[in-house]
């Protein structure tokens, strides 16, 4: 039995979707040109993960193993479509920015990975918590990468926050230097790869530092 503590630690750090499992890279690299975009996609992915894990866990008793994968795919696709429609109804401006990436959540292997690997073998409580923590871990990386690229690329932070949080949030935008010329590389796709690589380096460095004397077992990333 996995404890809540282990689930939390795995999701946020030890088995982080973006930094260790390296799943969902397509949306991760594509949308993180600003913090707000990153958080937007992060929240959508988080909700998808919690809902799909919960539903998969609820039906785990009577799903026949021959058809479980198509059933999981059906559940995930339905959840994502519902989120997409709700977003169009509630946050239309954000939808205009993230629109094309929302359907891509269906193809985020992290979600079917958690459904198959965790939710289908555990009770509802832990499964939902796993979805929440895996989703949070992904969200934090998206936000960090977005922040990194936005600061270096545009010299701002929280630009367009009003798209997500309403007009009051316009004051959230921080502009560090009026005359900042921008650094294009950080905004373009290569910047996303460099940024993610940097975050992975930092994570591994933090992991290795306190236990230099111990034997280190490399985590085996699942390949896609």
């Amino acid at each position: 039995m996995t404890t809540s503590r282990e689930i939390t630690r795995d999701g946020l750090w030890g088995n982080n979707v973006a930094l260790v499992q390296l799943l969902g890279l397509c949306p991760l690299l594509a949308v993180t040109s600003t913090v707000v975009n990153g958080i937007g996609l992060g929240i959508a992915t988080l909700i998808t993960l919690v809902l799909s894990n919960t539903i998969v866990s609820l039906i785990r008793g009577f799903v026949r193993k021959e058809v479980r994968l198509p059933v999981f795919v059906l559940i995930i696709a339905s959840v994502v479509t519902i989120i997409e429609l709700s977003m169009q109804a509630l946050f239309y401006d954000l939808y205009l920015v993230l629109g094309i990436f929302i359907p891509l959540i269906v193809t985020n292997c992290a979600i079917i990975g958690r459904a198959e690997g965790f939710a289908s073998r555990n009770p509802v409580g832990p499964a939902a918590l796993d979805g929440l923590m895996m989703g949070l871990g992904f969200l934090v990386v998206l936000a960090l990468l977005g922040a990194l690229r936005e600061i270096i690329g545009f010299g701002t932070l929280f630009a367009n926050a009003e798209l997500m949080f309403g007009d009051g949030a316009q004051t959230l935008t921080i502009e560090f230097n009026e005359d900042y010329p921008g650094f294009l590389l950080a905004v373009l796709p290569p910047g996303a790869f460099f940024g993610l690589a940097l975050l992975i380096v930092i994570k591994n460095w933090l992991d290795l530092r306190p236990q230099e004397k111990q034997e280190i077992i490399e985590p085996v990333p699942e390949t896609v």
Binding site: R64, E66, L85, G182
Partner: protein, 206 residues
């Protein structure tokens, strides 16, 4: 292969079918309950774009509804029918706002809204959709640079035809540092839209 009995196949099939029905029902219900809000949102965004080109006090009709479908035209850059919005004040034509396309952007098509007053002067131009390079070509967006406003109140006679080019090509419009193709495409598309209006003005306001 593990042998699976016919009965098991049937049960699995029905199970999968039930899930497909349940999933589709949920999606359909959500679509049904969010449809009106989504249509209203799209309309608000459209009105916001249109009113960015034409001050509200210059028209009194419902511009989003007073539309005409135009057949595909090389001057508008369209290869399918497109919509023109018509602004009127007390029934008199004020301006027409075209959906035109610059087909030769650096990264594919650039979708424009081009507002033209009935006297042939430009009310304004806005880019509604594009895939130009961030930080270079995306200066055609009004929130990145005021460049797109350099079209305001221009017409086919101001500047004269030889001036309807970017400066590098000997015309009057600025290009961007490091990006000439994008503004060149937009300038050409705006000029072509003006030509289209000149040739079809009567038809547009019937």
């Amino acid at each position: 292969m593990i042998a699976i009995s016919r009965r098991q196949i049937l049960i699995s099939g029905i199970f999968l079918w039930l899930f497909a029905v349940a999933g589709t029902t949920l999606v359909a219900l959500t679509e049904y309950s969010s449809r009106e809000a989504i249509i209203e949102n799209e309309r608000q965004v459209l009105l916001r774009n249109l009113y960015a080109l034409l001050p509200r006090d210059k028209l009194d009709n419902d511009i989003a509804e007073d539309i005409l479908e135009l057949p595909a035209s090389p001057l508008l850059g369209t290869d399918a029918a497109s919509i023109v919005y018509r602004a009127r004040l007390a029934g008199e034509p004020v301006a027409a706002i075209f959906n035109s396309i610059a087909p030769n952007g650096y990264n594919g098509k650039i979708h424009l809204l081009v507002g033209i007053y009935s006297n042939g002067k430009l009310a304004g131009v806005r880019v509604v959709k594009h895939a130009e390079t961030p930080g270079l070509g995306d200066a055609v967006e009004v929130r990145k640079s005021p460049w797109i406003k350099s079209f305001d109140s221009k017409s086919l006679t101001n500047p004269d035809p030889s001036g309807w080019r970017v400066k590098r090509d000997g015309g009057e419009f600025d290009q961007f540092t490091g990006a000439t193709i994008t503004p060149r495409a937009v300038v050409t598309a705006v000029r072509n839209t003006l030509l289209y209006y000149q040739q079809n003005a009567d038809m547009i306001f019937n």
